[in-house]
Symmetry: C2
Subunit: 87 residues, 2 copies
Amino acid sequence: MMRRLYFDRDSARGVAGTYEWLVDEVKELGEALNARHRTELRKEFADVIAWLASLANLTGIDLEAATVEKYDNRCPKCGHLPCECKP
Amino acid sequence: MMRRLYFDRDSARGVAGTYEWLVDEVKELGEALNARHRTELRKEFADVIAWLASLANLTGIDLEAATVEKYDNRCPKCGHLPCECKP
């Protein structure tokens, strides 16, 4: 969806500029965590994942495939579900 | 999946500590963008979305629902697909 919505604009901005936006959105998410406004918090989570998807599109990474590859119903460190790593 | 894997550990760490981890993972993603190692880059994208999911679980936010609520096949600013906002 983010590719259909924003790929042309993301391409024009480039990887570095898109990463900077992602960092800004993560900061805004941090502020929304402190404020605890639920509606605002939902929007900030949406923005972070949106910009993460834009960055993934620009770099040719399939976010879902990459995530399932690393976290496939088991912790990549200890191999268990749930994770049994020592704290 | 992240809830099943890590919710107990995430709960013990808390929102603030989990957010700090997310910020660190975003930094590592930035470094992987520069290095351009594809395998490493895929892992860093996976880590960012994993920690974002952990934070969403802790705050009771449904990441997918929040994202579809804001970006529902149209740009939330201009209302178009693809986005037609002025640059």
